[in-house]
């Protein structure tokens, strides 16, 4: 894949912003804020992963969190120490409670299994028109949830899966986020990404000039699933305890709102949306708990966070359907500014 140097520079700068923020948090922040930042990074990776499929193919994807869930559970099942599994998964099939893998190997397996599932689902996905495809992604998320909830022997069902070695560090998360951003930009600005984006604007024209739409859609789908799988594994290895609820509609709403606010056609937009929505959600969580404000005790308002996310989506769609950044990446903005300074008329 050949990509323009400008796009690569833009991606690296964006990644470096995250890295600098990571260094500051790692060096100076309190443990609570470190956890917050880690969650932010996992969400960021997930939003970038979502962008790879949604932003390039223009098909709304509600099932991305399902891939995170698969990867998270496979990692948990393989990496948890036998001592824990013997009691927590006493009746586990395939003898998974008789061995444990090092976290890194477990993550590799998790990614492979997630990709295998993505492959099968992808075969069906690429044949659908946009809307049926979207509904299929919702159905996929429900399938994953139903299986995790009901395969009690393997996943502990609705109860929490605990005892996963918390090996992930902020450093790993920063590196992964950096990698995800570069990968997403590399795909978006490659020939394939451009062709896929063209096909989402005009199917007939794109296919008339020989764009292999289904193949490219499939490629975006797999790359997206890969990034989601990494996000899921990272999350698991940081928090140490997961439950099916962690990978269901709450996280779907959150990541979709982030991507839409920032602008789904742009990786920079995904990052910007993630930052803004994270700040908003934390504020809402604070208000939700009924804090004392200027001497007055505010009422507890459970549901405020969800309300905020819904509002973000509805207002974005009503006033700025292509998101804050539209199709602009960070380097597009610089480039235009430079041209303007040089006195060139730009639209």
């Amino acid at each position: 894949m050949m990509i323009e140097r400008r796009a690569l520079v833009g991606a690296v700068v964006l990644g470096l912003c995250i890295a600098v923020a990571g260094l500051l948090v790692w060096g100076f922040a309190a443990p609570y804020h470190q956890r917050l930042f880690f969650t932010f990074l996992v969400n960021l990776i997930a939003v970038v992963g979502l962008q790879v499929f949604m932003g390039n193919s223009d098909i709304t994807h509600f099932g991305h969190v399902g891939f995170m869930g698969i990867s998270a559970y496979v990692t948990a099942i393989l990496a948890t120490p036998v001592a824990v599994k013997r009691s927590a998964l006493a009746t586990a099939p395939f003898g998974v409670n008789t061995f444990e893998l090092s976290p890194l190997v477990a993550v590799l397996f998790a990614i492979l299994i997630t990709l295998a599932v993505a492959f099968l689902v992808g075969l069906m996905m690429v044949r659908q028109a946009g809307i049926a495809a979207t509904i299929a992604t919702v159905a996929f998320l429900v399938i994953v949830h139903v299986v995790v909830m009901n395969w009690v022997d393997l996943t502990r069902g609705p109860r929490a899966f605990y005892g996963i070695p918390p090996k992930a560090t902020i450093g790993w998360a920063v590196a992964t986020a950096f990698g995800a951003i570069v990968l997403a930009r590399a795909f978006r600005d490659s020939r394939w990404g451009l062709q896929l984006r063209a096909s989402s604007e005009d199917v007939a024209a794109a296919s008339a000039v020989g764009v292999p739409i289904r193949k490219l859609r499939f490629a975006a789908w797999m790359l997206s699933a890969f990034i989601m799988a990494v996000a899921g594994a990272l999350f698991t290895l940081f928090v140490g305890t997961i439950s099916p609820k962690s990978f269901y509609f709450d996280l779907t709403f959150l990541t979709i709102a982030m991507l839409i606010l920032g602008g789904m056609h742009s990786v920079t937009g995904a990052v910007v949306g993630c930052v803004i929505v994270t700040a908003g959600v934390e504020t809402m969580r604070f208000l939700e708990s009924g804090p004392v404000f200027a001497g007055a005790k505010l009422p507890e308002m459970f549901g405020l966070t969800g309300f905020f996310l819904g509002l973000v989506i509805v207002l974005s769609m009503a006033f700025r359907p292509s998101g804050l950044l539209g199709s602009d990446e960070i380097d597009d903005i610089w480039h235009r500014r430079r041209l303007r300074k040089a006195g060139v008329e730009v639209s």
């Binding site: 223009d58 709304t60 689902v121 075969l123 069906m124 044949r127 659908q128 028109a129 946009g130 809307i131 049926a132 979207t134 509904i135 299929a136 919702v138 159905a139 996929f140 429900v142 399938i143 139903v146 299986v147 909830m149 009901n150 199917v203 007939a204 024209a205 794109a206 296919s207 008339a208 739409i213 289904r214 709403f253 979709i256 709102a257 839409i260 308002m301 459970f302 549901g303 405020l304 966070t305 969800g306 309300f307 996310l309 819904g310 509002l311 973000v312 989506i313 509805v314 974005s316 769609m317 009503a318 359907p321």
Partner: protein
């Protein structure tokens, strides 16, 4: 034989419920291209309206609650159209769909903030939850009524779409909105009617969903409408006969699964059904009655 009769009644009534909801989705989609993810929350709204009228106005007679349920959903559907979906009219389908998705989250969380997570009970009419015995077969009244109401509603809808001017305008709008407007039909009226019908069908479903559950909670609309969406995709998204067929197919498949699956596997039912739908779509991407998705290639 009796067992078979009972189960087919099960399948028919469940399929009828899905068909009512899927039809509502398909009508709105065919007229304005909107995938209404907030359809399920209209059910929730109807449920809360019934609850508030019952609890707040002290109306103990459940018979009076039935029109409240249907009417409130119709009004709410038309309200949503004016407030939320008018700004995105004519926008790309993704914009409309995501708006509806956002509206759905908003409604759920407003219910969460003001009414709370706990389910609220809604009184139902006694005869709805009673059983009729035919020979040696006991069939719940709600199932018979639901099947009958579905059939009548579909028949009325067919008459409406074929015989009335606005109905014909709606069918025409499904093909080509701009030509319909050139003929002097107001788009506003066509779309408002589509939402009213969609709300009416959802309102009927609300009454039956509540008769079964007896309680309302903020997320109750999600599962029935997900099923309705899947039903619409099975039938071919946007096709009205497809919505009905899809609903029935899904209803039959669910009841069959329930019969076939051993108890230890019962929880996996929806996973099996959705996977089966996925396989169906692999073979026939356009659903049963839909049009082939266009990838701009020769077939």
């Amino acid at each position: 034989m009796e067992y078979l009769l009972q189960q087919s009644m099960n399948a028919l009534s469940l399929g009828g419920e899905y068909a009512l909801l899927a039809l509502g989705l398909a009508i709105v989609f065919s007229v304005m291209g909107l995938v209404n993810f907030a359809h399920g929350d209209m059910i929730t709204f109807g449920g809360y309206a019934m609850f508030l009228v019952a609890a707040g106005m002290g109306i103990a007679n459940p018979a009076l609650l039935l029109p409240v349920g249907v009417l409130s959903v119709v009004l709410f559907a038309m309200f949503l159209e004016k407030v939320a979906f008018k700004p995105v009219r004519g926008a790309p389908p993704t914009t409309g769909m995501l708006t509806a998705f956002g509206v759905s989250i908003l409604i759920q969380n407003v219910a969460l903030i003001f009414v709370g997570t706990r389910a609220k009970s809604v009184p139902t009419m006694d005869f709805l939850i009673s059983n009729v015995t035919i020979g040696s077969v006991r069939i719940p009244v709600v199932q018979i009524l639901e099947t009958a109401v579905t059939v009548i509603a579909i028949a009325l809808l067919v008459v409406f779409l074929r015989r009335t001017t606005i109905g014909m305008a709606m069918r025409a709008a499904a093909r080509d909105v701009s030509t319909v407007r050139l003929m002097g039909v107001r788009a506003d009226r066509v779309i408002a009617t589509a939402f009213a019908i969609s709300g009416f069908l959802a309102g009927l479903a609300t009454v039956f969903v509540l008769a079964r559950r007896g309680a309302v909670d903020p997320f109750m609309g999600f599962t029935p409408v997900l099923k309705a969406f899947v039903a619409a995709v099975i039938g071919g998204f946007g096709s009205l006969p497809g919505a009905v067929i899809g609903g029935l197919v899904l209803g039959v498949a669910e009841v069959m699964m329930q019969v076939v699956l051993p108890e230890s596997m019962a929880g996996f039912r929806d996973a099996f059904i959705f996977t089966a739908v996925g396989v169906l779509l692999l073979v026939r991407p356009q659903g049963i009655l839909g049009e082939r998705p266009d990838f701009g290639e020769k077939s």
